[in-house]
Amino acid sequence: MKILVALKQVPDTETKVKVAADGRSLDPTDVKWITSPYDEYALEEAIRLKESAQAEVTVVTLGDDKGKDVLRNALALGADNAILLKGDGQGDAFAVASALAAFAKDKGFDLILAGNKGMGGDNSAVGPMLAELLGWAQANVVVKLELSGATFRAEREIEGGSEAVEGSLPAVITAQKGLNEPRYASLKGIMAAKKKTIEEADATGLPAASAWSALTLPPARPEGRKLEGDAASQAKSLFGLLRDEAKVL
C-alpha cells in the first residue's frame, strides 16, 4: 500500500503574530515554524499503517526551502520518501489542493492522509478539495480509521456525536485530534533522516481562487473596570452592567 501524507508548515502557536507592512500577510520575522499539529496525527496514522501493514509512506509539503524542516522531521519519524513542492503553501486553499492533486494523481497512492485543517488558517478546505479534484472518496475530521482490503471505515466527529463513513480506496482522510497519540522521533531516526534525500519539484496546478485582501489583529482587550462602594452597591452595579451592558442576564 502506498500512502501520501500532506504536511503544512505553520507558525508555532506560541508565536506573537504580527501583520506585515503590506497589511495582508504575516510578518515572518521571529516566527518559529512547526508541522501543523493535525498533520502530525495524519503522519502518525500513516506510520502506524507502515508498521502494521507494510505501507510505504511518502510525505509532501508545498512551500519554500524552509519547508524541508517539516519533511526532515517526518523522515525522522519514519516516512520513507519526502518531496518538497516549490510554491506558495500559505495561500489559497484551492491552489494548494490543486497542486497536491496534480502531484498525487497517477502515482498509485491508495490513501492520502492530511490534517483536517491547517493550524492557524483553520479553513478545513484543502483535504475535501483534494478528494474532489482527484475524484476520490473522502472522510474528514476522522478520529478512528480502519482499513480492510480496498475499503475503509472511518469514524468522524460531528456535532454532538460521531458518524461512521465507509468507502473504497483510494481515498482522502483528514485527521482530527484523538485519532492517535503522535510519537517523538528517536535519535536514530533523526540521524538517519539527515542522510535521506528530499526530492524537489515545482508545483503545478490551477491558479488561486481567492487572495487575502486584508489581515488585522483582533482589537486589544479593553481595560478592566473597578466597581466602587460597599459590597451591596457593588453587587447592584455589577447586576446592572451584566443585564444592560453585557446583556447576559
Binding site: R183, Y184, A185, S186, L187, K188, I190, M191, K194
Partner: protein
Amino acid sequence: MFPALTEDQLAIQEAAREFATAEIEPGAMARDHSAEFPKAIIGQLGEMGFMGMMVPEVYGGSGVDALSYILALEQISYADASVAVTMSVNNSVACAPIAAFGTEAQKQKYLKPLASGAVLGGFMLTEPDAGSDAAALKCRATKVDGGWKLNGAKAWITNGGVGRYFVTMAITHPELGKKGISAFVLDADQPGVIMSKPEEKMGLRSSKTVMVTLEDAFVADDDMLGQPGDGLKVAFGGLDGGRIGIAAQALGIMQRALDESIQYAKTRHSFGKPIGEHQAIQTYLAEMHAKVEASRLLIYKAAMLKDAGKPCTLEAATAKLFSTESAVWVCDRAVQIFGGYGYSREYVVERLYRDVRVTTVYEGTSEIQRMVIARGLTK
C-alpha cells in the same frame, strides 16, 4: 548558543529540549512533592534512544558522541534533574563500563536491554564505610560452583528498586588488597539482593536511591566484567564521563535558575520599578550568567576532548568542580532574588536549590575533584 555544534548535535539538543518541555517539565513539581518515580517518562526516553546514547547501534544504543549526550542531559536536567540523574546513571555508569569492558555475550545479554531502555541499570561501588575512598570497600565475593556469591552492603545506589542490572564491585581475592577487587554485572532480580526503601533525600526526590544488602547474591563466572582484579579499573574507567555528565546536570539546573530569575526580575516590582532595575539584583544576574557560560565552556571542552579520544581527566574534574560549585551558588542567588517566594514549594527555584546541592557531593566530591586537579597539575 555555543558556536561549534554540528547539525546532528543541534538536532539531538532540540529533540531533548522538545521532549523535556512537553513531557517532563509539566509534572516535575508534582513528582518532587510525591517522590513518585517517573516510570513512563524513563520508558519514553528509552524508546527515543536517550538511555544508551553513546552505545553503538548494534547493541541497542544511539551511537552518538559524548557532546551530544551532554547536550541532551543538560536539556533534560533543565526540566527535571531527577529524570536527568536516572538517565545519567544508566548511560554513564551502567552502559558505559559494560560497553568498554564487556564480552560480546555480556553486551548481548546486558547492554542491549540497558541501552534500549528495556531495563534500567546502575552501579554498586559505594558502601556505608567506603565512599570517596572506594578501595576501602568490604563487599566479598566467594567462589562457588559456576560463579560467585556476593555478601555485603552497598549504599546510595541510584536506580535501586527500579533497575535490574548493576555493575557491582566486590573483593574476590582479599590477599591482593586493591588488586583483589573485581567487577560483575549483578542481576538484582533475585532474593539475595535486598533493596531498602528509598532514602528520604533533600532533592532529586523522584529519582530512587537505596541501600542494598547482598546476601549470597549469585553472579555467574560469565558475569565478571574484565579480568579478576580489574574492579577498580572498571569502576574508575568511566569516571571522566560520569563527572562531565554530572557537570552537565548542574549546568541544566543553574541555567533554569538563571532563566527563572531573569523572568522574575523583569516582572516583580519594588520601590516603583522592576527589581531587575535595582543594581543589587543586576550584579547577581550578571554573576550568575557569567558562571553559567563559563561552566558550559568547560563542560563542552571536556566532552569534545573525550570525543577526540584525548585524555580529559584534568578537564573533566575542572568542569565538574567549577560547574557544580557555581550551580550551588547560582541556585542560592535565585532563591535570594525570589525573596520569600523562593522559599516556597510553589516556586521552582526552591526545588532547584535542593536538587542542585548533591552535585558537589556525588560522582566525586568537590574535595576529590580538587585533589585530582592538583595531581594533574603537579605530576
